[in-house]
């Protein structure tokens, strides 16, 4: 993770930035200080860290909602500061609050919103809207009103709205934090299917959501303090403690038994691993 050499990646699926700094108006401390990162097309990168650490700020700088005080950014080959709308054509951002991202009174109209903004012709819009709704598992929901949907359904509608634009890059800003367990599963199920197809930057507090990620960035105090594989992250107790990261209970249990591994996903996995450990111990006596 070198910050000193900026490679201007014209690749539509890549993200890179160098020396990125941003301070919110009126704030005493910068929200981001000298952040540098490179994400290659198709990578699934997690972003974790304590609140106020700069995660959401980073995402908003990447799609031009905020304008950096200094530093260079290239997203999908463009500079979000000078060409925000070109960037937004290629970057879809999913927000934390499922309610406030939906703009139209019916599901299919909302999914069409981004396409309308781009001036896509009606025939093509219909096909793309239909396809996007199907891709998130909501076929049949076209005429539903947003306030009648569950949190998970709302987030999936929002996701469909993004997918209809066929972005190369997805920025996910804690998309499951306001959902219940069922909603979380629904949304993660759909985002997981996009692995490899799209470049994904996923900010979350739930480390369990990132076990499949290619790597995880830890942000604290406006800086990237670690860039590691998920397996490394969950087994590094110091790293976790320093950044106030909390493992999901299953992972914590596994770690406490010396079985820490990102491969242990389900209770059955863990039970099996424990059983093996017991047998091995019995075998060595």
């Amino acid at each position: 993770m070198s910050g000193s050499v900026l490679r201007i990646l014209a690749d539509p699926g890549s993200i890179s930035c160098e020396s990125l700094t941003y301070t919110y108006p009126g704030a005493a401390e910068p929200a981001l200080s000298g952040v540098a990162l490179e994400v290659m097309a198709g990578e699934y990168v997690g972003v974790v860290g304590p609140n106020g650490g700069g995660k959401s700020t980073l995402l908003r700088l990447l799609n031009g909602l905020l304008s950096a005080d200094s530093g260079k950014i290239r997203v999908a080959g463009r500079d979000p500061d000078t060409e925000p709308f070109e960037v937004r054509r290629r970057v879809g951002m999913l927000f934390q609050n499922p309610e406030n991202g939906l703009v139209a009174p019916f599901v299919e109209d909302d999914v069409a919103f981004g396409l309308e903004n781009l001036g896509v012709l009606r025939e093509e819009m219909r096909a793309r809207v239909r396809e996007a709704i199907r891709a998130v598992g909501l076929a049949g929901y076209e005429q539903r009103e947003p306030h009648t949907l569950s949190g998970g359904e709302k987030q999936r509608v929002a996701l469909a709205g993004l997918l209809a634009l066929e972005p190369e890059i997805l920025l996910l800003d804690e998309p499951t934090s306001m959902l219940d367990a069922a909603g979380r599963r629904e949304v993660l199920d759909r985002t997981r299917r996009l692995r490899g197809e799209k470049t994904i930057l996923h900010v979350t507090h739930h480390l369990g959501e990132l076990l499949d990620a290619d790597r995880v960035l830890v942000m604290n105090g406006g800086r990237i303090v670690a860039d590691v594989a998920p397996g490394r992250l969950i087994s590094d107790a110091d790293l976790l403690a320093e950044n106030r990261l909390v493992l999901p209970p299953l992972a914590r249990l596994a770690a406490g038994l010396g079985l820490g591994s990102s491969k242990l996903r389900t209770p059955e996995d863990l039970a099996r691993a424990i059983g093996e450990k017991i047998r091995r111990r019995a075998g060595t006596r």
Binding site: R88, N117, G119, R126
Partner: protein, 261 residues
């Protein structure tokens, strides 16, 4: 809330099937035309037309009458005022200083009926046109005004967003009210001033919440490429069909007839 927003009554009817723009124009013409009618015959023609339209709309008469309820008081007042205080025409009845003249009765009924017809026209429009269709129709009709710098697109966008969030805000109001009630707030006690003051713990969080929502929504809209009305296409289609032209022509003829009568 399963019932559609506002006064829209979702059934299948010839009126429901008309293009919203035709209906908006017809309603506007009706409202305008009513002020040109000055004879009993003309008014009877318009009344007959409105009644026929209500039947055609397949909205149950009882439901329709409920839509007129808000103006019942004003209509009654108007009629009463004319009947009691107008001195036009022959005197029919006297009681002390009170005099009732036939001119007053006629004028009262005329004015009262006209108010009812105006409100009926509006009610017909909203009962047979889905809110989103209304917004689309209005946007379309107002778009020529863009040349005069009228923010037709922005107005339509505001209507759409309002339609989207009214049920949400309604639920939010209920939640906040319950939360404050759980803290001991009583919205039914005290005189009018106390009751108004009691709404503060509801209005403030609701307003603050609404502003937060607006910020979030603006971010989401911008992220999805929203740049105002320039270059935008529309997903929903409004197609003017022959029957819309016919409806408009018939309306115009009836109003012309009524005005001339």
């Amino acid at each position: 809330m399963n019932r559609s927003l506002g006064q829209f009554y979702p059934v299948v009817s010839p009126l429901h099937a008309l293009d919203p723009r035709a209906k908006i124009l017809a309603t506007a013409a009706l409202v305008f035309g009513l002020f040109l009618v000055d004879s009993a015959a003309g008014l009877a023609l318009v009344t007959g037309t409105v009644v026929a339209l209500v039947v055609a709309s397949r909205v149950p008469p009882v439901t329709f009458l409920q839509l007129l309820r808000p103006v019942a008081f004003i209509v009654a007042l108007t009629v009463l005022f004319q009947v009691l205080f107008s001195r036009e025409g022959e005197m029919l009845f006297a009681w002390g200083i009170l005099e009732i003249h036939d001119g007053g009765v006629r004028l009262g009924l005329f004015l009262g009926l006209r108010i009812l017809l105006l409100v009926s026209a509006a009610a017909l429009l909203t009962a047979t046109t889905a809110p989103l269709a209304l917004a689309d129709g209005l946007e379309d009709l107002l778009s020529p005004l863009k040349k005069l710098r009228f923010p037709a697109h922005e107005v339509a966008m505001m209507m759409t967003i309002a339609l989207r969030f009214i049920p949400t805000l309604s639920e939010e109001t209920q939640k906040i009210t319950k939360a404050q009630a759980a803290r001991g707030a009583d919205f039914a006690e005290g005189g009018p001033l106390a009751r108004v003051r009691a709404t503060v713990p509801i209005l403030i969080p609701l307003t603050v919440g609404a502003f937060r929502r607006a910020d979030d929504l603006a971010e989401a809209m911008e992220s999805r490429g929203y740049q105002g009305g320039e270059g935008r296409t529309r997903y929903r289609e409004l197609r003017f069909r022959p029957r819309d032209a016919i409806a408009l022509t018939v309306t115009a003829l009836i109003l012309a007839g009524a005005a001339l009568l």
